[in-house]
């Protein structure tokens, strides 16, 4: 059934976007129905597969060779993901009709967007790692096309390239991870291991988790790190996060899709699948927790200072993905996916609301906006709802899942004291998150006028842009409450039915919740204080900053503390983070580029075209061969034994 859906989408290359909308709508209906069916009968796994090809074996380790299969798997986790992908996909498609109205190259846009969604759906319902990887690459390729959609723009082209290159690093690690896992699980596990069953993971029945099979060998630890690397590339986790903010060069609709439902979700989904069906060693878990917690905090600090509305949301995505990774690392894969589920809706909402503003004004600079809440009431409300959900204010969606993330990690602190610093970071990020998202809201929507008078008068978009905002707002309010529906619980619990995986909810700690909500409220309050009502808070501009500081001093009497923590501290960390981002990571990437360039150049110069020079290489080659044959190889064999 799903293949049918995917197939029909692949087939469409027609002109109008309405066909794409209709088909993605159909896909959404199918996706939701599947999820509904799954929710009604949890623990029901539908696995259909055909043999793709069989590789003959050699006597010894792999007497039966191994098989590659192509198959689809519908189970609680994949149906949960299907809902996310198809619903957000449909809404974004609908929105595109209005948003992309004036652009050229629309057939290409809709074809690529449809392929993007189809690839993501394919990834979600893959039943084996190889097929998963194929769709994974396809998702990456589509994102490359879509980020570079405005390919005449050099910055868009280079952002697309950057996204492609950075995620390729992750892809290579993922592939190596598959290889290492394969060499470990080849003959271990069900049906004689992967060698016989074609890398299939069937949710809920897998025994790979059993520690006796998993072991704790170095190989498996390294394999886990490699999988983490793949996920980090796709999901923009530190230190492979650099591509995501720049990926804002694509159309806003594409950003919404990448950030909510497709590209970055693939990485988290991989990590969840790997943790449920392959298992991580305790060292791997610590590394994952560390990466997730640190990224959550690190990205949030960067969002605090950025003037570009889309980039603020982009950093927030990285930060939120950090939470998901954190939860998965702590052993709560379902909690991570739950957060992915709610995040998809409110993040898509935020992007589409931001897109609506950009559509109206033609700028992304927050400091040029202002006072938009009057002409764009719906957008302002939608952005606020998205912001509240992101900040984790009850009863909005983000509260439930973020609270689950924090409390589940909290519950592990006793057993794993090493998680403490990353838990603290994630907790601190709650405050920052609330602050930066409402800073953006106040900058854009509060006040009574647009700051840059050259901008056109703002207006709401056409209905095709408004309807998606309403739909997503509903989800952003309600998605968290889904957890109280028995069926949805079934989905989460069904995925959690695998032995040893704690359930996705119910571990909430009231004290913890209260503190995190207070933190979030504090962040919003601070944002309102600094930026509310059209104010612009600037450290450099004394006329604005000084009265504000005095106000702070008289009201709260912690000017020094605030100044240091709120301004200096955060700004310094942000700057340091930004510096690190720009110089250390970019520098490494460019350095590698240069190194290969220089190596290539050196080698190319050796290719002189003179036969006499070639003779010299031949002599060198012969000497090298004899050295290997007579000295090196015997030594190696004597040292390590024969093959």
């Amino acid at each position: 059934m799903i293949i049918g859906v995917t197939g029909t989408r692949l087939r469409r290359f027609e002109y109008g976007g309405w066909i794409a909308v209709a088909l993605s709508g159909a896909a959404m209906v199918v996706g939701v129905l599947i999820a509904f069916g799954e929710a009604m009968s949890p623990g029901n796994y539908t696995n259909v597969q055909i043999t793709w090809f069989h590789v003959a074996g050699a006597p010894g380790t792999f007497p039966n060779g191994f098989t590659l299969v192509m198959g689809t798997l519908v189970d609680p986790i994949s149906s949960l993901m299907l809902v996310v992908v198809t619903v957000v996909g449909f809404v974004v498609m609908l929105y595109s009709i209005g948003y992309m109205h004036h652009d050229k190259g629309l057939p290409r846009y809709y074809a690529e967007l449809s392929l993007f969604l189809a690839a993501m759906n394919g990834l979600v319902i893959s039943n084996n790692l190889i097929e998963f990887f194929l769709f994974w690459e396809l998702v990456g390729l589509c994102s490359y096309f879509l980020i570079g959609f405005y390919y005449e723009k050099p910055s868009a082209a280079s952002a697309a390239k950057e996204a492609f290159l950075v995620t390729r690093i992750g892809d290579i690690m993922f592939l190596l991870g598959i290889f290492l896992y394969f060499s470990h699980y080849a003959t271990a596990g069900p049906n004689g291991g992967w060698a016989a069953n074609g890398f299939v993971f069937v949710h809920g029945t897998t025994p790979f988790l059993a520690p006796s099979i998993r072991g704790s060998s170095t190989l498996i630890t390294v394999a886990g790190i490699m999988i983490l690397g793949g996920a980090a590339g796709k999901s923009a986790q530190f230190p492979l996060h650099v591509w995501l903010p720049d990926a804002m060069e694509g159309p806003t609709t594409v950003s919404a899709l990448i950030h909510a439902a497709t590209m970055v979700a693939a990485g988290v989904y991989l990590l969840a699948v790997a943790s449920l069906f392959l298992g991580f060693t305790s060292f791997d878990s610590l590394v994952i927790v560390a990466i997730g917690g640190f990224t959550a905090f690190f990205a949030a600090t960067m969002a605090v200072v950025h003037p570009d509305i889309k980039r603020v949301i982009a950093y927030s995505t990285i930060s939120q993905l950090g939470y998901m990774v954190l939860a998965i690392g702590a052993g709560f894969a379902m909690v991570g996916l739950y957060h992915l589920f709610t995040h998809a809706f409110f993040k898509a909402l935020l992007f589409l609301a931001a897109g609506s503003v950009i559509h109206a004004l033609g700028t992304q600079d927050l400091f040029k906006m202002g006072g938009l809440k009057k002409p764009m009431k719906l957008t302002a409300a939608a952005f606020a709802i998205g912001g509240l959900a992101l900040a984790g204010i009850p009863p909005f969606a983000g509260f439930w899942s973020k609270d689950d993330v924090l409390s589940s990690v909290y519950s592990q602190l006793g057993a794993h004291p090493a998680y403490w610093p990353f838990f603290v970071m994630a907790f601190a990020a709650v405050f920052l998150t609330a602050y930066y998202i409402f800073r953006a809201w106040f900058l854009a929507f509060s006040g009574d006028r647009i700051r840059d008078p050259t901008l056109p008068a703002a207006h709401e978009g056409p209905w095709v842009m408004q309807v998606p905002l309403v739909i997503l707002s509903a989800f952003a309010v309600g998605a968290g409450l889904f957890v109280f529906l028995p069926g949805f619980q079934g989905l989460l619990l069904g995925g959690a039915g695998v032995a040893g995986i704690p359930p996705a909810y119910g571990t909430a700690d009231v004290f913890l919740s209260a503190v995190s909500v207070l933190l979030a409220a504090g962040g919003i309050g601070l944002a309102a204080l600094l930026w509310g009502n059209g104010r612009v808070f600037s450290l450099a501009d004394s006329s604005v900053a000084q009265p504000l500081r005095r106000l702070l001093l008289h009201r709260y009497y912690f000017k020094v503390g605030y100044d240091w923590i709120g301004a200096k501290g955060v700004y310094t960390v942000s700057r340091a983070a930004d510096f690190f981002d720009r110089y250390v990571i970019d520098g490494t990437v460019h350095g590698l580029e240069r190194m290969f360039g220089a190596m290539s150049d050196r080698l190319r110069r050796m290719q002189s075209g003179l036969v006499s020079d070639y003779a010299a290489y031949i002599v060198a080659g012969l000497l090298g061969l004899f050295a290997i044959l007579l000295v090196v190889a015997p030594f190696l064999i004597a040292r390590f034994g024969g093959s």
Binding site: V55, A58, L176, S183, L603, V611, I637, G642
Partner: protein, 526 residues
């Protein structure tokens, strides 16, 4: 009464010889038209292909088999030649390369000289390749290689007018002569050590020779054959020659004759490598007791494989000309194929064989496309291909498929072959896993330069259409059909594209026969 029973098994070779002689005879008689020579050449190769396929036992045509079934896959030392399933598979691979090049060359310009020489030499070189595939004796093998080599030296220079081709032919000849010398020297050392030149006999006596003599002999043989296979650092000639030769000939060299060197690697080195797996005797050359050369060879070949794929890829990254980029990519692919010889298990041999067949299609096809676009006025630089994908969509898509397959993208034959090859290395466990890792990393690296070409073809804005080929004239003759590409060439390119995808989607089509052939090869020895 003359005994004619020995003729039957050699019917494919005899057909090719007859085609060669016929073309040359007609040339002497003054019949030099491209159509006639081309038809003889292509039909000859086609008939040979049919006969070999029948010998392999493909069901609908198995009745035409000319080799009595009892003579295939016979174990034990034989005479100069032996028929093995794997050898026959390789004959098919060689004939595929010759057929594609012959078909495409039907579309060469009419006025060009030397058409009959071209087809005569093509069939003669193919004859040599077929003999390589049935060789069972070191000297027979080297002589068969020589037959092919001498034909190809001439083939590079067959136009006789182009200075670049002449220089390339000269370089090719000098380097080739050196390579032959090294190979024969190595063979003589082995003869000194073992007292025989029969490959199976040598493999059976792996532990009997004088270690130093044996290792020196194999060292010279590796070096000599490495020229043919373009292993680093014996690769330098290949780029100049592929670049300088007429592009159809480059297709034949990269897609066809290079592969005889690889099959020679199979024949010469798999013997001792397989023998050691069976016996498990001491592997130390300077210790006491019996000695096995196999593991030492494996280490040397592994080093050559990794070096070759890495250097080839890194150099391909910076090339600005299409033909040179393809030449370096061809070098790096040789490194992948060598993994199969190094690992030396049946799946590895099957993987390498499939990779070799895939490479015939991908690289041969790619050079044919290069010749096609050169024929419609596109320059040699990669940037000259700007916008080709939109200007000539079919050609662009076909070339794109070949590049994707070279990069190992799924649903192409290149993915299947690399998958089988690398997974066989993982299967073998031990340090062979690292060969797979090296291969994977190199594949990832290679994606960059293939993707760059795709980007240039499909995303960069096209230059104004070159007007060297008037389209009105193009439609008028079959040779210039398909916008100046020609029927023969278009058919060859289309065939390659279809097979690449067909095998990519349904690999079992080829994988089954190749795997059983590889298993026979392991069972009976080279």
């Amino acid at each position: 009464m003359i005994d004619t029973s020995f003729v039957g098994p050699f019917l494919p070779e005899i057909v090719l010889l007859a085609a060669t002689l016929l073309v040359f005879l007609l040339d002497v008689l003054g019949v030099r038209r491209l159509e006639i020579a081309g038809a003889i050449g292509v039909v000859g190769v086609g008939v040979a292909f049919f006969l070999v396929a029948a010998d392999l036992g493909f069901s609908p045509i198995a009745g035409f088999a000319t080799i009595p079934s009892g003579q295939i896959n016979v174990g034990g030392p034989t005479g100069l030649y032996a028929f093995t399933s794997l050898g026959l598979v390789f004959q098919l691979i060689f004939l595929t390369a010759a057929f594609l090049v012959g078909l495409a060359s039907l579309s060469r310009p009419t006025g060009e000289r030397g058409a009959s020489i071209f087809y005569g030499l093509l069939t003669l070189a193919t004859l040599g390749m077929l003999l390589v595939a049935i060789a069972a004796d070191l000297i027979f093998l080297l002589l068969a290689i020589e037959l092919t080599s001498i034909s190809t030296y001439l083939l590079v220079a067959y136009t006789r007018k182009d200075g670049r081709s002449l220089e390339a032919a000269m370089k090719f000849y000098i380097v080739g002569a050196l390579s032959t010398t090294l190979s024969f020297f190595g063979a003589s050392l082995l003869f000194g050590a073992y007292g025989t030149t029969n490959l199976r006999a040598i493999a059976g006596m792996g532990s009997a020779g004088v270690p130093t003599l044996v290792l020196l002999g194999y060292g010279f043989l590796i070096a000599g054959l490495a020229f043919k296979v373009t292993l680093v650092p014996f690769h330098a000639w290949a780029v100049d020659v592929y670049d300088g030769a007429p592009t159809d000939v480059s297709a034949f060299l990269a897609g066809g004759t290079k592969k005889i060197g690889l099959f020679a690697f199979f024949l010469v080195f798999l013997g001792p490598i397989l023998a050691v797996k069976a016996s498990g005797a001491s592997t130390l050359p300077f210790g006491t007791g019996p000695f096995n050369v196999g593991p030492v060879l494996q280490i040397a070949l592994a080093a050559a494989a990794v070096l070759t794929m890495t250097v080839g890829n890194v150099l391909a990254l910076l090339q600005k000309e299409m033909k040179r980029m393809l030449a370096y990519s061809s070098i790096s692919q040789a490194g992948y194929m060598l993994i199969g010889v190094t690992v030396g298990t049946a799946p590895a041999i099957a993987g390498a064989t499939l990779q070799i067949f895939a490479h015939v299609l991908m690289k041969g096809g790619a050079f044919l496309v290069v010749a096609a676009v050169a024929g419609v006025g596109v320059g040699p630089l990669i940037t000259d291909w700007r916008g080709l994908g939109t200007r000539r969509p079919l050609l662009g898509v076909a070339f794109g498929l070949m590049l994707l397959s070279l990069a190992g993208v799924p649903l192409t034959i290149g993915f299947v072959s690399k998958f089988v090859l690398f997974s066989s290395a993982v299967e073998a466990q031990g340090w062979f896993v690292w060969l797979a890792v090296a291969g994977l990393l190199n594949s990832a690296l290679s994606v960059f330069y293939y993707a760059r070409v795709l980007k240039v073809m499909f995303f960069d804005v096209a230059d104004p259409m070159p007007t060297t080929v008037p389209l009105a004239a193009a439609a008028s003759s079959a040779r210039l059909a398909f916008g100046g590409i020609g029927v023969g060439r278009a058919a060859a390119i289309a065939l390659v594209a279809v097979v690449i995808v067909a095998v990519g989607i349904y690999p079992q089509l080829l994988l089954g026969p190749i795997q059983s052939a590889a298993q026979h090869f392991v069972n009976v020895g080279p």
